[in-house]
């Protein structure tokens, strides 16, 4: 072996030193870093933010650099909590709406009334304005709205002469009619978050139920509303591909585009990207693919689907809260915000009422081509057909443990056992109720007797 000992020891020292220096963020010299976390991972969105808001911010505040981190949705909660535990959260971040109350209750958030007024309190759409309004102050502002719904093959449904379903029974009839020739009617995403939290929330909302009793916070997982929904879901399962629970949300969009299913259960405007990429060329238009709102259950009035829209928030532990607010003012500046929303058209719909019908906004080519999708969202918002992700009723923004309930997977287990395992809905619901009551007691939220 020709390595001399000196070289070996030197090599070790260098490697260890290099490894040690891999510390982020670099905090040498006069540069101060503003840490901004968000969940829009598309490269073009990241680029837009960099070229518009960040560029101007760095011009206005020399001595500051903005460090944006695009995190996956699933990672966000864990990373955030880990950073809070480590005492160094980002200065500004996206939050899942059902997390915000949890953090507010722990006194971790800074109010942002001044920012809201600066960007136009009266212009912000009612669907998102008061979501983070606690005890008289605003603690968050939605970055953009994206409604979700079924994405259907309108041509197939119309060929069968069936109207859009309004009740569970209508939906089951439609599903039966569309399952033929190797094609399934519908497919639900297999991720726990969707099938075990987002969709059950929608079922409850559309069937007159709610996650918890508003006064005592007692969970209501075995309420009649939930049991009806589980029975409906169990029947719907017959019209879904056998392996759906092992596949993901994005797989359903690919399946829709390639004709393997007639309806994607969960779809936002992101589906358009898949259609443009994978659907047969002569079918890439709203005549073939359209959004469809959800049916309601026997005890509900209208079907509800989720409104995707994380909110910005600033922490009490943030290093540079004032600069965070200044950054947000630039973020929402009309010309920059427009570009941001155009980076993923329709999926990122502006929160400002004035912009929803603004010709400049509507002139985007994708929005022009898929205009009916945009219109569905606007009319749906007007008709109150959407609730934020995970909410079973509007007041759920005040429930401080939805994140833990989601994380425990209790609801997901129940749904999987009923839909895929074919078990008895009432039995599984009772089991889930018991587990949920135990969990909430362990977490210290028991107010019922």
């Amino acid at each position: 072996m020709a390595i001399s000992r000196r070289h070996f020891l030197a090599g070790t020292a260098v490697l260890t030193g290099t490894a040690m220096l891999g510390r982020a963020p670099a905090a040498l010299g006069q540069i101060r870093e503003l840490q901004v976390w968000h969940t829009e991972v598309e490269p073009q969105t990241v680029k837009v933010i960099q070229d518009t808001s960040i560029a101007e911010f760095e011009r206005k505040f020399p001595g500051f650099k903005v460090k944006q981190q695009a995190l996956g949705w699933g990672d966000l909660n864990t990373k955030l909590l880990a950073s809070i535990a480590a005492g160094s959260p980002p200065d500004l971040t996206h939050l899942n709406p059902f997390m915000t109350a949890s953090l507010y209750v722990k006194k971790l958030l800074v109010p942002m009334d001044e920012l809201i007024r600066a960007i136009g309190e009266n212009d912000i759409h009612e669907a998102t304005l008061k979501l983070q309004y606690f005890d008289g102050k605003y603690y968050g502002v939605t970055h953009a709205m994206g409604s979700t719904y079924f994405a259907e093959r309108r041509d197939l449904r119309e060929k069968k002469g069936i109207k859009p379903p309004e009740t569970y029974d209508d939906m089951l009839k439609l599903a039966a009619a569309l399952t033929e020739g190797g094609r399934y009617a519908v497919q639900m995403p297999g991720e726990k978050l969707y099938m075990g939290f987002v969709h059950p929330a929608e079922w409850l909302a559309g069937n007159g139920g709610s996650w918890v009793d508003p006064k005592t916070y007692r969970p209501q997982l075995n309420s009649q509303a939930m049991i009806d929904a589980l029975e409906y879901a169990q029947k719907l399962n017959k019209f879904m591909p056998g392996g759906w629970s092992g596949q993901k949300y994005l797989d359903t969009l690919a399946a829709l585009s390639t004709g393997k299913i007639a309806m994607a259960y969960l779809s936002g405007a992101r589906t358009i990207g898949y259609i443009e990429k994978y659907a047969p060329e002569n079918m890439r238009d709203p005549e073939h693919f359209m959004p469809m709102l959800r049916p309601h259950g026997p005890s509900g009035r209208v079907g509800i689907s989720a409104l995707d829209g994380e909110n910005w928030a600033v922490f009490t532990q943030s290093k540079y809260p004032n600069e965070a607010f200044e950054f947000l003012k630039l973020f929402y500046k009309k010309e920059y915000y427009l570009q941001y929303c155009h980076s993923v058209p329709i999926h990122l719909t502006p929160i400002f009422k004035s912009m929803l019908n603004d010709p400049e906004y509507l002139a985007n080519p994708r929005i022009k081509k898929w205009r009916p999708w945009h219109d569905t969202m606007v009319s749906g918002l007007k008709a109150g057909r959407f609730l934020p992700i995970g909410f079973s009723r509007p007041e759920d923004n005040l429930v401080p443990f939805l994140a833990e309930l989601d994380g425990s997977g209790i609801v997901a287990d129940m749904v999987v056992e009923v839909m895929v395992g074919g078990k008895n809905p009432k039995a599984e619901a009772d089991k889930a109720q018991r587990r949920a009551e135990e969990l909430l007691t362990q977490l210290g939220f028991k107010r019922w007797s």
């Binding site: 297999g190 978050l193 099938m195 392996g243 092992g246 833990e404 997977g409 997901a412 587990r435």
Partner: protein
């Protein structure tokens, strides 16, 4: 003598420091943490003694995870042996390309778990996967099988794990095979023993101790395996059907956000392993095999 001892301890010191700080301390801290009700990331905590343990004794999810974990480790160990031992026997023979094959057989072991999982999920994909295509083409099944759905996910996990770790069995067993004196086989051949009897009467006795080690180590590692299992179903609803004990411990800490309970599960796992190992040693009485 004293100076010798001092130098000895000095040389050993860095190891002890690292092991102590990075292994012993976390283990002790785990045990201590398990006596608390603590939120994973926020400071709130309260001493609760053995409450967490009592809770798990009656927790259906806990017993489910023990069941899944046992099924998983049992099946994978048996299959790893069933594939690895014959492979080692094969690679002990002389033939052209043997050395090359010895290298190739180790490939599955070298790749990161995430790559192995992604690869097998792609092979087992019910719409585009090669496995279903081959099964359909051969007429073995009439419709694509949902390998990653509820009914088969455990099997898919087992197949992936066996593929990933059987090379360990191969190399370990082969190394021992290579040290068996050929005279023993000659003597058996002279006595008229055929291949199977040679295996039973020469090979097996000679390799008992290495088999003992292989089963012991693989059992420990498959029982406590986290990444393969967790990555296989990830955040899907079907993850429930492969929720082994390590995955449940992780969930309690990082998604339920109950660090004390996660720690209790870790301690339970450790105790289970100690007990099982002690029993294993007692049954096979092979302490010298490990020195």
């Amino acid at each position: 003598m004293r100076k010798q001892a001092l130098t000895g301890w000095l040389l050993l010191a860095p190891s002890l420091l690292l092991l102590g700080g990075l292994v012993v301390f976390p283990i002790l801290y785990n045990a201590w943490l398990s006596l608390f009700d603590k939120h994973s990331f926020l400071p709130a905590q309260a001493f609760v003694g053995l409450k967490n343990y009592r809770y798990f004794a009656g927790d259906e999810e806990f017993w489910n995870s023990v069941y899944y974990g046992t099924v998983y480790s049992g099946a994978t160990i048996v299959l790893q042996l069933a594939v690895g031992v014959p492979a080692a026997l094969l690679l002990n023979e002389m033939f052209r390309g043997r050395d090359f094959l010895r290298g190739v057989v180790l490939f599955p072991y070298l790749i990161p778990t995430i790559v192995a999982v992604i690869l097998w999920k792609w092979l087992l994909n019910d719409s585009y996967g090669l496995v279903n295509h081959l099964l359909l083409a051969a007429g073995v099944v009439s419709a694509p099988v949902a390998w990653l759905g509820k009914d088969f996910i455990m099997w898919s996990l087992i197949v992936t794990s066996v593929w990933q770790f059987f090379p360990f069995v191969v190399v370990t067993y082969l190394a021992r095979l290579q040290t068996i004196p050929p005279e023993l086989y000659e003597a058996a051949r002279v006595d008229g023993a055929g291949a199977w009897r040679r295996f039973v009467h020469v090979t097996l006795p000679q390799t008992r101790s290495v088999l003992f080690v292989i089963v012991l180590l693989r059992s420990i590692w498959m029982f406590t395996k986290f990444d393969t299992v967790w990555l296989m179903a990830g955040e899907g609803g079907v993850s429930r059907y492969i929720r082994t004990l390590p995955v449940y411990a992780y969930a309690r800490s990082f998604t339920y956000l109950q660090a004390g309970m996660g720690a209790a599960l870790a301690v339970i796992m450790f105790v289970m392993l100690i007990v099982a190992t002690a029993a294993y040693f007692r049954v096979f009485r092979r302490e010298e095999a490990l020195s």
